[in-house]
Subunit: 362 residues, 2 copies
C-alpha cells in the first residue's frame, strides 16, 4: 500500500477554504485506491509572515522537502495590507519565488480550458469560441526577469535608476522545449512558440534552441508567433492554439489573458514541475475581498489536485475522474457565485457545496 | 499661410497602398484650410534595405530631420523573406527602433477605440462591450528591454547564454507619467497604472514616480493594477479602463490585446511623441500576404493622420472631422474585407474606395 506525503500550503485569503474542498477530494481518492495521503498543513504566504515572522518559514521548507508533492493555495494581500510588510518579506518575493527556486520548478503547465456548459461565462462570442477553448500554456518558471540580477541606485547626478536582467542559457531553454514538444506529442502535435525575436536577443537564442530540439520531433508542427500577435489572436481566435510555450514573463501575462477569455481566473489550476519535485497551485490571486465568506470557487484548487494525481502520482484515471466530477457539477447546473450570474440558468452554490458535489459525483 | 513638411515613410507590405489613401485625406485638409503640406516620400523598412542597402537610409534621416511630422507605414516581411536580411538590418532593429531613438519619441498613444457600428466584429459579447470600448493606452516607447544592453555569449563550459537589461531612470518615468496624467485630465480623470511591482524592481521605481507625479494631479484617481490582472480585465471588462499607462514591453503586448478585443489590428492607429518631433503609425504589421491587392484597411493610417492633425498641428477640429468621416463610412454600412464578413450586413469595399468615401464624407 502506497503512502504519499503531501504538503498543504493553505496560503492567504480564500486559500484555506478552497484547500478544505481539495482535501475532501484527496481523501476520497486515497480511500478508494487503498493508499494513504499524509496531508501536512504548513504556513506559507502573508499569513505565515504575520504568524511566524517569515512568509516561507524554515519548518515549512522542511515539510516541503520531505513531501512527495506540494499543494499550494493562492497568496497575497490587499494593496493596503501588503504595505505593512517589508518588501522582501512580501509573499511573492519572500515565499512564492523562493519556493519556485528551491525546487527548480521550471515547467509550469497552465491549462486554459473552458468546461462544457460554461461558455455562457466567457466574454467571447459563441462563434469565436467555436468547439471550445482547450489550450495548454507551458511557461518557463524559474528564469528570465523574475530571477535576474536587480540593481537600484542613484547616479552621481542624483538620478534614481533601476536595472534588471533578463537571462537565459541554452540549458534552461532546452529543458522547457523538451517539455513543450513532449506535451505537443501527447496532444495535437502543434506547438506555438511565443517569442519577440524582432527586439529581444533572448528570444533569438530561445528560437534557436526551440528549432534544435524540434529536430527530434519531426511530427510536431511548430508555429513561431510574436508575443504581441499571440495576445491579439488569443482574443480573436483561441481555437488556433493548442500547446503554447513561452518564457516566464510572457507566460505570466498570456496565461492571465487566458483566464480572461474563459471568463474567470477561478478556472485556472496549474502544475509547476521540477526534475525532483512538483507543486500545484491555482494561478489566480487570494481574493482577500471575498475571503472567509464561503463563496470562492474551489475549481482551480481541485483542478490542481487532478493535475497532481496525474503528474506526481501517475494516477491518470483518477485524475480524469476528478475533472469529470467537476464538469458534472456544472453540467447539472450548479456553480459558485463567480460563475452563476442571474439569468445564466446556473444555480448558485457555496464553496463547501461545490466540494461536496464533486465528492458525490466522484 | 502655413507650410508644413511631412515625411511619408511608406514602409513595407500594405504600407504604400494605405499611405495613398492617407495622402488623399491630407491633401483635402490642406486645401480646405488653405495651408500647404509638403509631402515627401522616403524609403524605410525592408523595401529600403533591398533598394538602398539600409532600412533607414541617410537620405531618409535627412527628410525626417527636416520634417514637421512623420507619417510611417507598417514595416516587416514574411518570416521567410526576413531570413534574407542580416539581423541588424532587419526593419525592426535597423529602422523602427532607430527612428524611435533618434527622435526620442517616448510617448506612444494607442487608442483602443471601437467605432460605432463595428461591435459586430469584436470577439467580445455585446454585454461585455456595453457602451463601447474607448481606452487610451499610453506606452513608454524608448526605454526598458527594448533599448537596454544586450549580451550574447558562451560560458567557459561552452554553454550559450544571453543577458539583456531592463532599465529605467526616474526622468524617463516622470516624463511619461506627466503625459499620462495630462491625458487623464482631458478624459475621465481615471488612470490605470500598469505594473508588476511584486516581481520587478523597475515597477517599484515606476510606481514611486507615478505616485510622486500624481500629487500634482489630485483630481485624477489612480488605480494600480498588475499587468497580468490587466490582461484578464481587458477581456472581462474593458469598460473599466479609460487611460492606461505602462512601460514599453507591457505596452506592446496589451495594446495588441487591445486590437484583439476590437476585432482587428486594422483599427489601431498611433502617435509617437518626443519633445521635438513626432511620428505617426498604424500599430499593426505590414500584412505581406495581402499586399498589393487593394483590400487592406486604411483606417489605422488615416486615423494616424487624424492624430497628427491634432497633436502636431493643433488642428483639433479637422482631426475630429477625419474621425467622423471614417465613422460615417462604417455607419453607412461599408468597410474593407477584414471588417465585412458575410452576414454582418456590411458591404465590402476595397482600400481605394474606403479612402474615397472618407474624402467624400469630409
Ligand atoms: C504572484 C506572482 C509573483 C505570480 C507570477 O508573476 O508568477 C503570479 O502572477 C502567477 O502568475 O503565478
Ligand atoms: C515591430 C515591433 C518592433 C514593434 C514593437 O514591438 O514595438 C511593434 O510590435 C509595435 O508594437 O509597434
Amino acid at each position: 500500500m502506497s503512502n504519499y506525503k503531501i504538503a498543504l500550503l493553505d496560503g492567504d485569503g480564500i486559500g484555506p477554504e478552497i484547500m478544505t474542498e481539495a482535501v475532501k477530494v484527496l481523501e476520497l481518492v486515497a480511500e478508494r485506491n487503498n493508499i494513504t495521503f499524509d496531508l501536512i498543513h504548513a504556513p506559507f504566504g502573508a499569513s505565515a509572515y504575520f504568524e511566524c515572522g517569515h512568509p516561507f518559514p524554515e519548518d515549512t521548507k522542511k515539510v516541503c522537502d520531505e513531501a512527495h508533492a506540494i499543494l499550494k493555495g493562492p497568496i497575497g494581500l490587499s494593496h493596503e495590507e501588503s504595505q505593512k510588510i517589508p518588501v522582501d518579506m512580501q509573499p511573492e518575493r519572500g515565499a512564492l519565488l523562493p519556493l519556485r527556486r528551491r525546487y527548480n520548478t521550471y515547467a509550469n503547465f497552465r491549462p486554459v480550458f473552458l468546461p462544457q456548459g460554461l461558455a455562457h461565462f466567457s466574454p467571447l462570442k459563441p462563434e469565436i469560441i467555436g468547439d471550445g477553448i482547450d489550450i495548454m500554456i507551458i511557461r518557463e518558471l524559474v528564469g528570465g526577469l523574475y530571477f535576474g540580477d536587480k540593481e537600484t541606485g542613484t547616479t552621481p547626478e542624483g538620478v534614481r535608476y533601476v536595472r534588471e536582467t533578463l537571462e537565459y542559457d541554452e540549458n534552461q531553454i532546452r529543458r522547457i522545449a523538451i517539455v513543450a514538444f513532449d506535451t505537443a506529442m501527447k496532444r495535437k502535435k502543434v506547438l506555438h512558440n511565443i517569442h519577440k525575436s524582432n527586439v529581444l536577443k533572448s528570444s533569438v537564442l530561445w528560437n534557436e534552441i526551440m528549432a534544435e530540439v524540434g529536430k527530434d520531433y519531426p511530427e510536431v508542427r511548430v508555429e513561431n508567433i510574436l508575443v504581441d500577435a499571440a495576445a491579439t489572436y488569443l482574443c480573436l481566435n483561441p481555437g488556433r492554439f493548442d500547446v503554447m510555450v513561452m518564457e516566464n514573463m510572457f507566460g505570466d501575462i498570456l496565461s492571465d489573458q487566458g483566464g480572461g477569455i474563459l471568463g474567470s481566473l477561478g478556472l485556472m489550476p496549474s502544475a509547476c514541475l521540477g526534475d525532483d519535485k512538483a507543486y500545484y497551485e491555482p494561478s489566480h490571486g487570494s481574493a482577500p475581498d471575498i475571503a472567509g465568506k464561503n463563496i470562492a470557487n474551489p475549481y482551480s484548487m481541485i483542478g490542481s489536485v487532478a493535475m497532481m494525481l496525474e503528474m506526481s502520482f501517475g494516477m491518470d484515471q483518477e485524475s480524469k475522474n476528478v475533472w469529470h466530477a467537476m464538469q458534472s457539477v456544472f453540467a447539472d447546473g450548479y456553480s459558485t457565485a463567480d460563475l452563476s450570474k442571474p439569468g445564466s440558468g446556473v444555480n448558485m452554490i457555496d464553496t463547501q457545496a461545490f466540494g461536496d458535489r464533486v465528492v458525490e459525483a466522484l
